[in-house]
Structures are given as structure tokens and as C-alpha cells.
């Protein structure tokens, strides 16, 4: 299928969803299920007042911070565990425990131990994400080519040069996979963290709307934020992935 045809199909599918929503709203005829126009209106209002752009910016900043921290620490842990059998046997179970710890527990504990602060919020999100990154990167590091390692050793490549040209390119697919799933996970958890212990950001605005039963406002924030995340995925992550894998046949 050509790209333009696929785009057309996606647009038609989304339009049908919109139509379905409108019909359902008309049929329900309730403030608790507003139609697309009402939601759009709420979006325009929140944008004009400046609250929505500011909230989204604040939330995105938190997403970015915790995402970067989680990717860095998670990758480091994953690569170390993937390359050392002994360390993996020693610390692997810790990763599994962390992996299965409910996000909410981590958030509550962070707030209890470090107070209702920005640092606690970002730490909580990062801790939730780190084990996922570590597990994916561990898989990648364990699958590193011994052949290429030996080549690098025989030719006496300096450590950094070997890392850059031999090791990291092999990890790109794993890095991309954990970045993509990571972004999705991160922005969902950030909202919960904001709802529980921050006084700004999309999560906080959602909570306010919830208390007022302002469903139009909730949907407005949900749609706007989802759109922004999609733009980041399409405009940033995918082009980078294509660039990194252009050597493939």
C-alpha cells in the first residue's frame, strides 16, 4: 500500500470514530458524555487562558527528565547485567522484583520518603521505567557478537572507539524498542504522579476536572496530550530509528 493511501485510510478511520462519538453523545444527551464540538470548545478555552499549553509543557518536561534518567540508568544496568553472568545471577532477581512492583507503590513510597517534591516525582517515574529498560538492554547486551568483539580486540581498538563503532550500533534496535515502550509508559505514569502530588501539569488539571465532573475538560486534555506524544513519536523517534538502521538491506 502506498503511503498516501495508508494516510487516507487512517484519516477515514479516525473520522468514523469521531462520527460514532458524535452519535453516541447525541443519543446520551448528557453533560457526562459531551460531543466533539463541546470538547473542542473546552480545548480552545483552555488554550486561550494559557493553562493547557503551560500544563502540557510542564508535564512534557517531567516526561523528558524521567525518560532520560531511566534510559541512561536502565541501559547501564542492562548492559552490565547482559555482559556478566555472575552479576546477572546476583542482581537479576532485584530487577524482577522492581519490574513487578506496582507503579502506584513506587510513587507513594517516593512521596512518603522524599516529600511532595519535583525530585520525588521524577524519581518515582524513573524507577518505574528503569527495570523495563534494563531487561530489554540486557537482552541486547547478551546477544552482542563475540566475533566482532574479538576483531576489536585483535586490532587494539581503544575502548571508546569500540563502544561507539562496535558495541552501541548492535544495541540500537534494543534501545529503540525500550525508548518507544518507555515513552508510552513514562507519560502515563507522569500523569498519576502529578495527580497524587503535584500542583501543576496535565495530571493536576485532570484531577481538577474530575472533581468538577468536567468531562469535556478531561477529554480535551487527554486528546491534546495524546496528540503531542504522537507528534514526538512520529517526528523524533521514528526518523532517528530509520537513520540508525539505514545500513540494513
Amino acid at each position: 500500500m502506498s503511503a498516501s493511501k495508508r494516510l487516507l485510510l487512517t484519516a477515514a478511520s479516525l473520522l468514523a470514530l469521531l462520527l460514532f462519538w458524535q452519535v453516541a453523545a447525541l443519543w446520551a444527551d448528557s453533560r457526562l458524555l459531551p460531543g466533539p464540538p463541546a470538547v473542542f470548545e473546552a480545548m480552545v478555552r483552555a488554550t486561550r487562558s494559557g493553562v493547557m499549553p503551560e500544563s502540557i509543557a510542564i508535564t512534557l518536561a517531567r516526561v523528558a527528565a524521567s525518560f532520560l534518567i531511566a534510559m541512561t540508568i536502565g541501559s547501564a544496568i542492562g548492559i552490565v547485567l547482559g555482559r556478566s553472568v555472575a552479576l546477572n545471577e546476583l542482581l537479576g532477581p532485584w530487577v524482577v522484583v522492581l519490574l513487578n512492583l506496582p507503579a502506584l507503590v513506587v510513587i507513594i513510597l517516593c512521596y512518603v520518603w522524599f516529600g511532595l517534591t519535583e525530585a520525588a516525582a521524577i524519581t518515582a517515574v524513573a524507577i518505574n521505567k528503569i527495570p523495563n529498560v534494563a531487561v530489554t538492554m540486557r537482552e541486547g547486551a547478551a546477544a552482542l557478537s563475540r566475533d566482532l568483539d574479538e576483531m576489536a580486540e585483535v586490532y587494539r581498538l581503544p575502548r571508546l572507539r569500540a563502544l561507539r563503532h562496535v558495541t552501541l550500533p548492535q544495541l540500537v534496535p534494543f534501545f529503540a524498542a525500550s525508548a518507544r515502550s518507555g515513552l508510552a509508559l513514562t507519560w502515563k505514569i507522569v500523569l498519576v504522579v502529578e495527580l497524587l502530588g503535584r500542583s501543576n501539569g496535565v495530571g493536576f488539571e485532570l484531577q481538577t476536572a474530575f472533581q468538577l465532573f468536567d468531562v469535556a475538560g478531561i477529554l480535551a486534555y487527554a486528546l491534546a496530550f495524546t496528540a503531542v506524544v504522537q507528534v514526538i513519536e512520529l517526528g523524533l523517534l521514528q526518523p532517528w530509528e530509520r537513520r540508525a538502521s539505514r545500513w540494513r538491506r
Binding site: D147, R156, L157, W247
Partner: protein
Amino acid sequence: MSAIAIDIGEKRYKAQVGGPGREIFRGFRLDVAAGDFVALLGESGIGKTTLLNIVAGLDRDFRGQVRFGTKAPRFAYAFQNPRLLPWRSVVENVALPLPAGEPGRRRALAMLGEVGLAELADAYPERLSLGQQRRVALARAFAIEPDVLLMDEPFVSLDEAGAARLRDLLRRLLARRPATVLFVTHDRREAVELADRIVVLEGTPVRIVRDMPLALTPAERASPGRIDEVRRALGAGVEPG
């Protein structure tokens, strides 16, 4: 003084589950003179690659030592698989062991010219044929002007004409940049065509059953009759190559 002095007291592979351990080398010694081209001839699986890995310092799990004539010799290793980086272009692969920057890149390009692949400098290795990939691997090996060149069946899985062209290329490259070569093969013809000395390996643990210097002129090396004669002189114990 020899360029490489191999003295392996003992090298064994640990027992796998359900199987006994295997002793590959016991009291194995081999001295190689500087600038010599030594072919190590023997059946597959008897430990020829292990021997190269020990010399290269890749395998340190053995009792004994390998000494070299020069302090910290530069190694190049042409593996059975070319072991190129698929995510780097051909010229970047050749420049990999060279100092970073423009001079390294220029040297890599010149090297590619010598192996006849200048026009493929910016291609990615996976688009190349196996023969071309092996040329790139040779370019990478010679780019660093190695003191010791280790080659592990670098021309297998090529058709005879392709292998012959690569043998020619190897001779030309060595004429310009002399190195001490250890060349592993199970092909007697290949050994006779290239080597100054043929060492035939056999058994478990590996021992040297024949150690034969060859002083052939280029004309003799090009003559099939002369090569067959030497092959016969190598005698039994090795599969016909």
C-alpha cells in the same frame, strides 16, 4: 631470533555436560622466523583456529607462553568470516583500526584502491559479495601495516577462480608490506602456492607430523605440475586438498 615463538604446555577444552574434556595441545612448540609465510595444514576441528587465537592473545586460557621478536607487535587477523561492521561503510571499516580523522580515511581509501574496491568505498558491506567482503577484510588487515598477520582459512567458500585472484592479491600485498604470516588452511594446493614453509598438524593433542620448508620460485608456484609434486611430497596423513 624468531618472530613468533609458540610454547604451549597445555591447552584443554573443559568438559561439556555429559562429555569428557579434550586436550588440544600438550608440549606444543613452534618457532616462526621473521618475514616467513607459514601454512598450518590440517583437518578441520583439530585446533588450528585455537592456535591462531592463542597467538593473537584472544585465548588466554592455556598454560605456556607465546613470545614475539618485536615488543608489542601489531596484529592483523583475517578471520574465516570477514567480520566487518555491517553498520559502517566499507571505507569506515578499513579505517576502523587506523587513527581517527582525515589521514586515516585517506589511507583507507588508498588501501581500497590496492585491493580494487575504490568505487565501493561508500557501500555497506552486506551489499558486497563474499569475495569483495574478503578483499575489504584484507584491506583492513594491511592498512595497519601489521608485524604479524594471522589468517584463518580466509579464502574458503569461494569458487576456484575467485580464490586464485585473492591469493594473487595476498602475494602482491605481502610483497609491498612484508609481515610474518601464519596461514591456516586444510587445502594443500593453497598451502603450496603461498607458503615458504608448510607445517602439517595432526591428532589430539595436536602434534607436528611434517615441517617442510618450500623454496619455490614464482614460476614454479604458477606451474600445476610442480605444485602437484610438492603436494605428493607432503604425503599421507592429510586429506587430498
